[in-house]
């Protein structure tokens, strides 16, 4: 087998003042012709840096400190820039993670794809236009002609990514580097794009360097796997070997942290409903261009109930309405119709004073560990604010904060530190402590682990399960990831376009989904398709 890309003992140095000296430390990888090599790692593993190095597109201040990179036998680190530019796009192409920002918002898609031809070939305009249409057709974009004239913001996320793939494969490169191309997409769209990449790869024989953090994706499309941690290559082998017989402890830890697809056996839960959502609807009205108003139905007659002491998972893709529902539960948004009853109190129709008392009983944990904590407040203050606002003496509130820190697994003396001194996982714990400070009966968790690395995810989910047991909490758990929902939820509701498609015991929804959408959702989850690759 001929090796197209050979990275040998590559070290990349970060500028002074970064959190470590080397972004990459002696990394060696080879990419063979016609194969898909997945580079897996968590954030900070150096996987993106490897891709950037292979294209010689390292950011300012970052430089190669040692090692070689050979492409088709040539040492590309020694190439003059002009020659490297000729390789880029024509022989090695790249697809990025965020299709919205990776495309120039002021130029039509066709123009940007055409730029590939204009830069590297001498083809005439008519020929280029024809090829653009052909490419868009190949990546299965509906209506290629109008897509070519459209601007990036006029296409959906999945369509934009297809356009990016079309652009990358325009000149039939031998190597395609894909840097987390599906991470920003919905699960169903992700499945389609993965399928597309695999299909095109087989058809054109392109070698693909696929970067991801998701082992499910690895199982779905990889031929070989390379696992990275903190700038070092930890393990590399065929996909079967790595997934079935992982040799390094880190690989084993990562694999163990991936939530499996089956739900644990159902627990017995009380029959009494502590929260009932009754025919809740919400419409958003936005002023479009001119005087036309555009209204979006975010929630459409949603009816759900949360049994006491149990966890209800609300699963959906973007636009399903799950976040809107979460905000209605904690009164950040008021629904247009319907009632939200907690025991006997209707949350949706309370006076301001009553609302304040009621909201202490239902609290929320937010998604973004970086945006959900005020950067200018100490961690302990953030937790103590709530009780103080509800009348507790500051001294007592701060003591409670320390106790809560211990409860969520943080050092109680750390209450004096600022948020930026904590890691992402630790910040989520602070958010959890803040939510628990008011001793709520119900906890609404809005995608609390979606922004965390897989290994940290597992820890936070474990913590939630413990707290649920210890404090007798009832939980509403919002997520887009069915696998996560399966781990921690007793009941699961699947939402799409503001409506509940299916609802039932987690085990039932997983093993025997009744609605077509649920089935599609489960089918789209990336995983190994055959026992042996």
């Amino acid at each position: 087998m001929n090796a197209l890309l050979e990275i040998e003992n590559l070290s990349v140095a970060l500028p002074r003042g970064a959190d470590r000296a080397l972004a990459l430390d002696g990394v060696s990888l080879t990419l063979q012709a016609g194969e898909i090599l997945c580079v897996v790692g968590e954030s900070g593993s150096g996987k993106t840096m490897t891709a950037n190095a292979a294209m010689r597109l390292l950011p300012l201040g970052v430089g190669v400190a040692g090692g070689t990179i050979r492409f088709e036998g040539r040492d590309i680190l020694a190439l003059p820039e002009a020659e490297m530019r000729q390789l880029r796009g024509r022989r090695i192409a790249m697809v990025f993670q965020e299709p919205m920002t990776a495309l120039n918002p002021l130029r039509p898609i066709g123009d940007q794809i055409g730029e590939m031809f204009r830069t590297h070939t001498g083809l005439g305009r008519a020929e280029i236009d024809a090829r653009i249409l052909g490419l868009l057709d190949e990546v299965r974009i509906p209506d290629p002609r109008s897509a070519a004239r459209a601007y990036p913001h006029e296409l959906s996320g999945g369509q934009r990514q297809r356009a990016m793939i079309a652009m990358a494969l325009a000149l039939e490169p031998t190597v395609l580097i894909a840097d987390e191309p599906t991470t920003a997409l919905d699960v169903t769209t992700q499945a389609q794009i993965l399928h597309l990449i695999r299909e095109l790869q087989r058809k054109k024989g392109t070698a693909v360097l696929f970067i991801t953090h998701d082992f499910g994706v690895v199982g779905e499309i990889a031929d070989r796997v390379a696992v990275m941690q903190s700038g070092r290559l930890v393990e590399t082998d065929s996909v079967a070997e790595v997934l079935d017989r992982p040799k390094h402890a880190y690989t084993r830890m990562l694999l163990a942290a991936v939530p499996p697809l089956e739900a644990p056996p159902a627990r017995t839960v009380s029959a009494e409903a502590v929260l009932s959502i009754d025919r809740v609807s919400k419409t958003y009205v936005t002023r479009g261009s001119g005087l036309r108003k555009r209204s979006t139905l975010a929630l459409d007659n949603v009816t759900l109930s949360l049994p006491k002491g149990s966890t209800l998972g609300i699963v959906g893709e973007s636009g399903s309405g799950k976040s809107t529902l979460a905000k209605c539960l904690v009164r950040l948004i008021a629904p247009d119709a319907g009632a939200i009853r907690m025991s006997d109190v209707d949350l949706a129709h309370l006076s301001r004073r009553e609302a304040k008392r009621a909201t202490a009983r239902i609290q929320m944990v937010f998604q973004d560990p970086y945006g959900s904590l005020n950067p200018r407040r100490r961690a302990g203050e953030l937790v103590a604010q709530g009780p103080i606002a509800h009348g507790l003496a500051p001294e007592e509130a701060r003591a409670r904060a320390k106790k809560l820190f211990a409860l969520v697994g943080l050092d109680p003396t750390a209450t004096d530190r600022y948020p930026h001194e904590f890691s992402g996982g630790q910040r989520q714990r602070i958010g959890l402590a803040r939510a628990l400070a008011l001793e709520p009966e119900i906890l609404v968790a809005d995608e609390p682990v979606s922004s965390l690395d897989v290994s940290v995810q597992a820890q936070v989910l474990e913590l939630l399960a413990q707290l649920r047991a210890r404090l007798g909490l009832s939980m509403v758990f919002i997520t887009h990831d069915l696998r996560v929902a399966a781990q921690i939820c007793d009941r699961v509701a699947v939402m799409k376009d503001g409506r509940v498609m299916e609802e039932g015991l987690a085990a039932d929804v997983f093993s025997a989904p009744r609605h077509a959408y649920t089935q599609a959702l489960i089918e789209a989850i990336p995983r190994r398709r055959q026992p042996l690759h």
Partner: protein, 277 residues
């Protein structure tokens, strides 16, 4: 705190700006010491060129008044007006911008209308009219300048509030029961302030320039030794004694430059990630 000053000192232009500013402040503080007499009193023969006389080392103006004295005393006026007008403009701007950005809706619409009105009308014209109506004393001029300068800080504050209000930590504050006033002043404002504070230097620089323009047009307080007044005086003798206009202009330039450099230095120090811009 020390870390901040170290960050600030990394930029040579910021340091130079600080040095210049301290120089001007020094001039203002020592004016009474070095030139104890009334700077607008007669000191010597009119239109004496600089460097001719040891006592009157910057020469005299059309009426024979000491230019050096007027420059030093003028530093007081410029800095005072600059600071006071800036404080007024920033306070009004932050208040209105915060309320409009936080509440949105009607409050925001009203503020936007008013800001637009102020923007459509050239603010120097408005300044002229305010001075015409309320007179040309130092106090009225300062207040007038403050009144025409609040729009930009308001717009900036509003923009910051609009973006911060949707951040999760603000939503979290709401869910744990914090009231509106707490959210605005204790949660959002400390995060919204840095760009506005930096902009304060721009407001101050513009205030100094506006006052000197007014003085040049004889619309500012004639009873104080202001740099603009001196430039206006020098206009009549431009052909023979251009130094009368030149010297105070250089003083204004240095002061405004110093304020701008310090402002930029503050900006770079407060946003270390954006250095190299």
């Amino acid at each position: 705190m020390l870390g901040f000053w170290r960050l600030y000192a990394r930029s040579p232009s910021a340091v130079m700006g600080l040095v210049l500013l301290l120089l001007v402040i020094g001039m203002a503080l020592t004016a009474g010491l070095l030139f104890p007499k009334n700077p607008l009193a007669l000191a010597g023969p009119p239109l004496l060129w600089p460097f001719q006389d040891a006592q009157l080392w910057l020469g005299t103006d059309n009426s024979g008044r000491d230019i050096a004295a007027q420059i030093f005393h003028g530093a007081r006026i410029s800095l005072l007006i600059g600071l006071a007008a800036m404080a007024l403009a920033i306070t009004i701007g932050i208040l209105l911008g915060a309320l409009a950005g936080f509440y949105g809706g009607i409050a925001d619409d009203i503020l936007m209308r008013i800001t637009e009105a102020f923007q459509t009308l050239p603010n120097f014209l408005l300044l002229l009219m305010l001075v015409a109506v309320f007179g040309s004393t130092l106090t009225t001029v300062t207040i007038a300048i403050g009144l025409v300068s609040w729009q930009a800080p308001a717009r900036l504050t509003r923009a910051e509030f609009l973006s911060l209000r949707t951040r999760e930590f603000v939503q979290a504050g709401r869910t744990i029961g914090l009231g509106d006033a707490t959210l605005i002043f204790r949660e959002i404002l400390p995060n919204a302030l840095p760009p506005v504070i930096v902009y304060a230097s721009v407001v101050m620089a513009v205030a100094i320039l506006l006052e000197s323009a007014l003085a040049f047009l004889n619309l500012s307080d004639p009873n104080v030794a202001s740099w603009g007044n001196l430039i206006g005086l020098g206009r009549g003798v431009l052909r023979t004694a251009w130094y009368v206009s030149a010297i105070p202009g250089v003083a204004i330039l240095i002061t405004v430059l110093a304020v701008s450099l310090v402002g930029q230095g503050l900006n770079d120090a407060l946003n270390p990630r954006l250095r190299g811009r």
